[in-house]
């Protein structure tokens, strides 16, 4: 599969949620509280794209479709795109750019604190999502930086679950999917470690473990 063929339709598909809310706002079909519907909907889609982005590596690994990896940057940028719009609706429609009130909210409301920290961590990832930044940082450091997406995932799910009133079934579903996606990575790490420890090197005596004796 050629990523150049799949990228344009994927880009357009990524804009569909925005089109849905723009159309809904225009035709007044978002219910009695359209501003809340837009704010929450954009937040949902930031989180959806985050989980889709995190699913790329496992999918690539288990399907063998290496071209999937070439779509990851665009998907990741859609996370940033929807998170930025989500934040903007809050700053604009909820607070009307009342900066002291916003600062108070960030300090006093844990679900907003967590959301803001998550967004702040997204900014450097979006800023370094280009070939120049990778070259500048070096692949290893770039990768280390971009691992913060795992923390962003946890913060985003926490942000969601602290916002709901009583029924946490939907945040729990997101937590479950995130748990699987992060759990897989942890599992691969354990496997890789075991493999490395078990590895034998040619020309060296085979000694797998060093016994540690604890004296009492």
């Amino acid at each position: 599969m050629n990523p150049a063929l799949i990228k344009p339709p994927l880009f357009l598909a990524g804009l569909l949620p925005l089109a849905y809310y723009a159309w809904g706002a225009q035709t007044d079909t978002l219910g009695a509280n359209p501003i809340e519907a837009v704010t929450r909907g954009l937040g949902d889609w930031a989180l959806n794209f985050l989980l889709i982005t995190l699913a790329v590596t496992p999918l690539r690994r288990y399907s063998g479709w290496t071209w999937l990896g070439r779509l990851r940057r665009m998907l990741g940028l859609f996370v940033f795109f929807y998170a930025t719009l989500h934040l903007t609706t809050y700053l604009w429609f909820d607070q009307f750019f009342d900066w002291p009130a916003i600062a108070g909210d960030i300090l006093k409301r844990p679900f907003i604190t967590v959301g803001m920290v998550g967004f702040a961590l997204l900014v450097p990832l979006a800023a370094t999502s280009n070939a120049f930044a990778i070259r500048r940082l070096g692949g290893r450091r770039w990768q280390e930086l971009h691992r913060s997406v795992y923390a962003i995932g946890l913060l985003a799910v926490l942000h969601y679950s602290w916002m709901v009133k009583a029924d946490v079934s939907r945040p729990l579903l997101y937590a479950l999917v995130l748990g699987v996606l992060l759990g897989l990575r942890a599992w691969w790490r354990v496997q890789e470690r075991t493999r490395q420890l078990a590895a034998t090197f040619p020309g060296k005596p085979q000694r797998r473990t060093i016994p540690i004796v604890v004296r009492k």
């Binding site: 219910g31 509280n33 809340e36 009307f96 009583a166 029924d167």
Partner: protein, 307 residues
């Protein structure tokens, strides 16, 4: 968004509720010729109701939002769930039992309750704990009218309101999210306050199911969740009722739950609200703007402690 108040025309004239929604009830009742006489009282529009000095002159929230954006958790947790799911609510027979610390407990049929007193139109602000608000033209009478049907004992200090729990019609009853049946409570003087009403209708007609048919409490100076829907039992007690939301999250929902812009919800601010239909938020008023009428009920009380 600009909402104009219609002049000189009863809201029910503009928005008649389709008889279609009541087709099953209609068939059931028309089956017995003897029951035909009941039809006018149950199915004709209830309104317009006597005008009340307690009504606000603010712009009304359109019926489609009043009946389309609801918290009625027995029928789902999304705002548009109740409008769909509550159509299954079984409305007849419906009785309301008044018991507890009373000399003679009573069970009243909803048809008799409808005839207890002439209905008034009370146009009240409704402020939800979630930070949105509406203006709703209720039809009802003071709760005190209903409570006077029994003789409360001197020891009665509180009134508990217990709402319907129909396992076969309410989809979320199976989940353990809240402790069903949904119960609420008021101090006796709050319940007897002239602003506190039992609503039997809105917009000149019977209550839509999703708004708490056939009878619900309306306490306009408290957050909306205090106004229990589809009430089946009223109990006089001598100690503070332990309400559903208090059991669910005691540090977020207090017994009083008076609208108060200075006392935040534990997770969000209560200083502002979005009036449904408005673009920007407005300031929330102390006791939802009813401070002159109810402020004295709480004189000397620390409203942060008794939130």
């Amino acid at each position: 968004m600009l909402i104009r108040r219609p002049d000189d025309i009863a809201p029910s004239d503009i928005t008649p509720r389709p008889l279609f929604e009541r087709r099953r009830e209609f068939l059931r009742l028309s089956a017995g010729a003897a029951l035909a006489a009941v039809l006018p009282t149950t199915h004709a529009a209830l309104g317009p109701g006597r005008p009340s000095a307690y009504s606000t002159s603010e712009a009304l929230t359109p019926l489609k939002h009043v009946a389309g954006y609801n918290n009625f958790t027995e029928f789902g947790f999304d705002k548009d769930d109740p409008a769909r799911a509550a159509q299954a609510l079984r409305l007849r027979p419906w009785t309301v039992t008044i018991d507890g610390l009373v000399r003679q407990p009573k069970t009243l049929d909803i048809e008799d309750i409808l005839k207890l007193a002439p209905l008034e139109e009370r146009i009240y602000r409704l402020r939800c704990v979630e930070g949105w608000s509406m203006v709703i033209p209720w039809l009802g009478f003071p709760v005190s009218t209903l409570l006077k049907q029994v003789e409360p004992l001197g020891s009665a200090k509180y009134v508990e309101f217990i709402t319907a729990a129909q396992a076969d019609t309410m989809p979320t009853l199976r989940s353990r999210v809240l402790d069903w049946p949904y119960t609420e409570g008021l101090r006796l003087d709050e319940a007897m306050h002239p602003l506190t009403i039992m609503a039997l209708g809105l917009y000149g007609d019977v209550l839509p199911n999703q708004n708490g048919a056939p009878m619900r409490l309306v306490v306009p100076w408290k957050y909306g969740f205090k106004s229990g829907k589809s009430i089946v039992r009223i109990r006089f007690t001598d100690n503070e009722p332990h309400t559903t939301w208090m059991k669910t999250s005691p540090d977020e929902y207090g017994f009083y739950s008076n609208v108060n812009p200075e006392v935040d919800h534990r997770r969000w601010s209560q200083a502002n609200e979005r009036r449904i239909g408005d673009f920007f938020k407005r300031k929330t008023l102390m006791f939802n703007g009813y401070a002159d009428q109810v402020g004295q009920l709480y004189s000397g009380m620390d409203l942060r402690k008794y939130f």
